[in-house]
């Protein structure tokens, strides 16, 4: 029955088509505000979900919070104010970008510190190995062995070292 109705509608639409066919309007009343809303929602974490933003989630709380964001944007609040609204009620957990605080200094500085540490270690390793004595020159037997192996390498059909 529904299929029949759909078919009829389609036929009607096609007949009415060229006259009625429109350039589709954006779903949102205000696309700029909608863009802002989605961008903000992407930055906020859904507390009842398994690590999803409130933009992606269909949980009740996520829907409610998205509505809050839309209302606040319509009321003229800035992004910072809306984010503050969320963190006042839910804490920093709701932010995907951890704010820089005393508790997160190590987090934000960590990579740079790791890099610094690594570079220092690297420098020390390079200096130390520059100090190690050069390997002793080959003895006669070793030279002969090397020559023999190289001859075999050069023979056709054998593999070449890169």
């Amino acid at each position: 029955m529904r299929a029949l109705a759909a078919a009829l509608l389609t036929i009607l639409a096609v007949l009415a088509g060229p006259a009625a066919a429109n350039v589709a309007a954006p779903t949102a009343q205000d696309p700029v505000a909608a863009r802002r809303s989605v961008d903000l929602a992407r930055k906020l974490r859904c507390l009842v979900c398994q690590n999803q933003s409130i933009a992606e989630s269909n949980a009740d709380l996520a829907v409610d919070l998205r509505r809050q964001i839309d209302e606040q944007i319509a009321a003229g609040r800035t992004d910072a104010e809306i984010v503050a609204f969320m963190t006042d009620r839910y804490g920093d957990f709701v932010l995907y970008r951890p704010p820089l605080k005393a508790t997160t200094v190590l987090l934000w500085a960590g990579p740079a510190l790791l890099l610094l540490l690594a570079v220092l270690v690297l420098r020390r390793a390079l200096r130390q190995q520059a100090k190690t004595p050069a390997p002793a020159p080959l003895t006669e037997e070793e030279r002969a062995l090397a020559a023999r192996l190289l001859r075999e390498q050069a023979a056709p059909g054998s593999d070449r070292t890169q």
């Binding site: 299929a3 954006p26 709701v94």
Partner: protein, 658 residues
Amino acid sequence: MIPEVGQLALILALLLAVVQGTLPLIGAQRGIGAWMELSRPLAAGQFLFVAIAFLCLAWSFLANDFSVLNVASNSNSQLPAHYRVAATWGSHEGSMLLWVLMLSLWMQAVSIFSQSLPREMLARVLSVMGMVSVGFLLFLLLTSNPFERLAPPAADGNDLNPLLQDPGMVVHPPMLYMGYVGFSVAFAFAIAALLGGRLDATWARWSRPWTTAAWCFLTLGILIGSWWAYNELGWGGWWFWDPVENASFMPWLVGTALVHSLAVTEKRGAFKRWTVLLAICAFSLSLLGTFLVRSGVLTSVHAFATDPERGLFILVFLAVVIGGALMLFALRAPQVGGGGRFETVSRESFLLANNVLLIVAAGSVLLGTLYPLVLDALSGGQTKISVGPPYFEAVFVPLMSPMVFLMGVGPVARWKQATLPELWTLLRWAFAVSLVVAVLVPLAAGGGSWGLRLGLFLALWILAATMVSVRERIRNFRGAVRERLAMQPRAWWGMILAHLGVAVFIAGVTVVGTYETERDVRMAIGDTVEMGGHVFRFDGTTEATGPNYRAARGTVTVLRDGREVLTLHPEKRTYNASGMAMTEAAISTGVLGDLYVSLGEPIDASTWSVRVYHKPLVTWIWAGCVLMAFGGLLALSDRRYRLRSSQRQREAVATSPA
């Protein structure tokens, strides 16, 4: 009956693993030949029994045996056959069985393809892998038995989660686990070398193909997972820095460092201790990933149902395996000694810098992933934060950019000793051209972010610098260019392709990030929306039925210059067994980009909200990864790994100073 056979097979495999983990190892330490010889047949036996167990579970799924709890929880009689098989690894228990299957597969492969490996080394390698196998088989049998029965049997199952009913589910976990588990081979080789006290270029040569193979699989596994998320989730995102994704990315980063480090150890005998440590770290991160996904310690969409008891078991296992390996490293590393010398500017030093940056990147990802946990623990549960994509992107890009830049310089630098002026002379035109194009494109096409310019520069730089390295490489050969290129070993071609893959990847990420367009519109039948040079016309929806779902199936016709070129069918599905709703986007995949259409909500009988995306070059993201994996595969098939050592060469190696 069949589930019981499976369970018995697992117990037998465990018994074999216990023997395999002990006797050959002792045999190698004490020189008992007979015990060392046991390692091959034991590995074969383990593979046989684990395979039987796996097939028993897969059969239970295929045959809809709802007296097995796992089948009843994760499958359904209406589920198409290939998804029923995939559901075998759709749960925690089943995926652990897949893990063990992969482990036994790799063990068997090592057993078969190591004919020229000294007996002690093979015995040690297989023993270490056997010990890992013991841990996982115990874990399966004691806490996560996939063959648990359900009495009375369910009439029908709960169905596989609709999000998992996608071709990606068939391929992604096996590939991923092949990669994860494959690093156990490199790990075993490292432990074997530390135990035997012999750590030299030959050891690196043996390790290298196994590590490269594991890396290839992991690359493929991650890229398939990413592409699957993109197809499935309706938003067109492809990486979320989710803890479980990070758990797969960290071994990949360390694995990449390891592959390069092994190259240096093999060729120049340098970095020995560092390479061994990397091999231990790569597999440790695999194990850590297993812990993170299954213990409930972190929240993730990918996490399995959690149980603290299971988490504790894995953690103890982690402590024993990784702790033991690192302690062995601490004890034996001083004896292993340093390696070949090289100057501060040389190919070795560039590779070392590459390693450093990759490790720091992996460390940063680990820091970001675990920081919430650390803070939570230190504050007694009072401080909870989230670390998400903004952090990871802010940290990862600055770390990786210098590494990518060095990727252009390294292959051009000579081993042991190179000079900066020489490198500048070779690369200055590549640098200039990349810089100029990277600045011009945004001017011409619009979009002026620094991210765009950086990404373009790096991608072009790799391309140009790689071309320079190709030119330099064939310079000293004779013959036509084509002949000279054909003469180069596959391992070298593998490197070129893999590096070009990185360039393609970066180009894809940068372009789609800057130039993708999206429209969220309400469409009545006949309405159109224009985007990216295409016109999208909504032609209504019909009702459709799939094997285990009902759907509203939309028809969107794509026109170009007034001509119909394409019809897309996005769907809004409701699955019968679970009642779960899912949006199935319709994607037209192309070399130059994707058109992505997804149904939102119905507004009235014939009007829907529809999201339409144009994503230029998005396929390059995965094409680049495929190139990387293919490069690795090519390197694997290099002639020198096809063992044809003559008897004399073996003797020569045996008598040469270690």
